[in-house]
Symmetry: C2
Subunit: 419 residues, 2 copies
């Protein structure tokens, strides 16, 4: 029988009634003979309420104390879930992140897991108990409580699964898997049954919000199989695992879009060595996250440098851009907040040239103008006007045959390509 880690988010444990429903699901799996570990988040809005309380007391609360405060949210959930399982006649035992040996660095509010000492989980499983673990939290080697930042509970679940060598890490969410595109934009979007780590990482990075990027990275690095599924149905969701033969059939996994970034352009920068280094050193110093970077061809000794950055970083980015323009003697800087990134992702495109051409043609036919382009081996991203994003996603989804159950593309193998 399998060792299964299940992760339930804040919505799944938002009320006493829902906690009882989660307990029933866990007990059902246990009664099938599996060993069960459940990782849970704080109930519903509890984390937000705690942040609210903190800010009332100190508008800039120290991060160490913020972690001390927020860690209580998951601790409440694990105790209640263990109680609910006991009420169903099964033995459950809850552990906080520190108790379960989630050792992190000192990056309070966004700590990274260094090690999982999962002995207590293994021991409790061996005793036949259902183990409940608080997501989102850990402890430094010298005993300070930390939290893992956004999506931290997913990362805890994958880390615990890696630590105990679980057969699968089931991430329960309010959607029933990873889709070929956002179903709100593309009604014909299909659920993906199986996807490789790399493609899932690119999808997550490109805006597909179902799975947290760091948890997928962790799963890839430790070979943990993720099963992303709905907490409201029994239907199978999306399996994320090492890509293999069967998965290579699909050239394109999906289309993702992201409207959370803005574009900054530094105009007419003197084109000499070290210019780009200066721009992005200043941005890093200002704690500005930079995503896509494009430098156009030089013209009369001048060039333009464009990059995208989360809108959340824009205030800092504007100040840094002002400094850069002065420092480099550039003409000006411009900000465009009405952009969207539209990305085509698929491990198959590595060996199928012509994908980019087909992408650009489909966008052109849909009347979508392309502003910037960036590529990786398994992703092509175009920046377009925000208001054209949905049309772009639909055009790509249709052009690459993702609307149908069978994937058919018009990609033509290039000369000299493997095959």
């Amino acid at each position: 029988m399998a060792v299964i880690v299940q992760k339930y988010g804040g919505t799944s444990v938002g009320t006493p009634e829902r906690i009882r429903a989660v307990a029933q699901r866990i007990v059902a799996a246990k009664e099938e003979g599996h060993s069960l570990v459940a990782v849970v988040s704080a109930m519903g809005d509890v984390t937000d309420e705690l942040v609210e309380l903190a800010v009332q007391i100190n508008p800039e609360p120290p991060e160490r104390e913020m972690d001390m405060l927020l860690a209580t949210g998951e601790q409440v959930s694990i105790a209640l879930l263990a109680m609910a399982i006991h009420a169903l006649g099964h033995e459950a035992i809850s552990f906080t992140g520190p108790q379960v040996g989630i050792v992190t660095d000192h990056g309070h509010t966004k700590a990274r897991i260094l090690e999982v000492r999962a002995d207590r989980v293994r021991d409790a499983i061996a005793e036949g108990r259902i183990v409940i673990v608080a997501g989102f939290q850990g402890m430094t080697a010298d005993g300070h409580i930390t939290t893992l930042g956004r999506g931290g509970s997913d990362t805890t679940a994958v880390a615990v699964a890696a630590g105990i060598g679980a057969d699968v890490c089931e991430i329960y969410t309010d959607v029933d898997g990873v889709y070929t595109a956002d179903p709100r934009v593309v009604p014909d979007a299909r659920k993906i049954d199986v996807i490789g780590y790399e493609a899932m990482l690119e999808l997550a990075a490109a805006g597909a919000a179902v799975l947290n990027l760091r948890s997928v990275e962790f799963a890839r690095n430790h070979g943990v199989v993720i099963h992303c599924r709905s907490s409201f149905t029994e239907a199978p969701g999306t399996i994320v695992k090492e890509a293999d033969e069967s998965m290579e059939q699909a050239i394109i996994s999906g289309v993702a879009h992201d409207t959370s970034e803005a574009k900054i352009t530094i105009r007419d920068v003197p084109d000499r060595p070290g210019v780009a280094a200066t721009v992005f050193t200043r941005m890093a110093e200002a704690n500005v996250n930079v995503d896509m970077i494009i430098q156009n061809v030089s013209e009369a000794g001048m060039t333009d440098i464009s990059f995208t950055t989360p809108k959340a970083d824009l205030v800092r980015a504007r100040k840094a851009a002002e400094v850069v323009v002065c420092e480099l003697g550039a003409r000006e800087w411009l900000v465009d907040e009405s952009i969207a990134k539209v990305s085509l992702i698929g491990a198959g495109m590595k060996t199928h040239p012509g994908v980019a051409a087909q992408m650009f043609r489909a966008l052109s036919q849909a009347g979508v103008n392309i502003d910037l382009i960036s590529t990786s081996t398994i992703r092509i991203t175009c920046v377009v006007a925000a208001q054209e994003a949905e049309a772009a996603v639909r055009a790509l989804h249709s052009s690459f045959g993702l609307d149908d159950a069978e994937v058919t593309t018009e990609v033509v193998p290039a000369c000299g390509d493997g095959e």
Copy 2:
């Protein structure tokens, strides 16, 4: 300068505003040059709300998980208080009970402290920080979170004070000290400036609710000086410490009363050896706490055994009494729920005979009938009808001169008494 431990209860930290007020008081003491450790309880009704939530999920929640749940209440308080102190420009660091090395036994929901490994508190003090410690909680040696039961935060404060060798443990409360009687019953009751551990223990055991019994025991065993005072004023409260010459002047420290117990009488028990053992073995087996025990003189081979027990234990006590009556062939058992214990406490009575006589005379003059009597070296307790309790307290308070600033008694030294 002194090392001071301050303990603030749930009311003192019940709102963000009150937390800020507590922070100001702590910072004021710090700025006088003292080293500060604050022990805090959960905010206001948080513990009750958590219990409510648990019972919704499992009417009989497992105690280990109850402790996991309840420990979050204090953890929220310490984080918020540390934030409030930071907002005032001082360095504060919070620790949970487990982090601070409060090692307890496995008695979940009412664990006893076995050891305090206060290294982290000492280190943080040495670094000039204000240390905030979660009251009410600890951890077993093998890493399970426990809580200390009612009044647990007082015990934490005293234990931490003992662990770091603090000069004083200030217990802040909503009254300004320990009184010679409950001021709601005796308007003329006086605040006691200094009292010995033994007298304080008897007062607490006899119903004076200001200080928790276990914390006073802990203080006595480790020689911790307690200063019980109001969080609303700067006025000094009551110092509890080892009795010395100056304190022996007062024969009587105070009058306490307690209406939380009921009396059970087993009637016409055959008077043979082992009878009392049987009665109280059965009570212990039924988890019934027994307080006062009185066995009357035997008459025609039969005797009556009476005892008092908390009303909270009455359901179990009735069942056990039924069994006992059958087992011993006694006539019947009776319960009286309308009783009150009225106690006179004072270390001075050890060397001043006649106190009991004066007590009985005062009660008689006030028309109060005495039902049961029990004594220790520094306490005399009478059980009276509940409706006569307040009259009894006032009569005793007045008879022993506690109404006045100067204590004057009519106690007559007995022949042969030390002097």
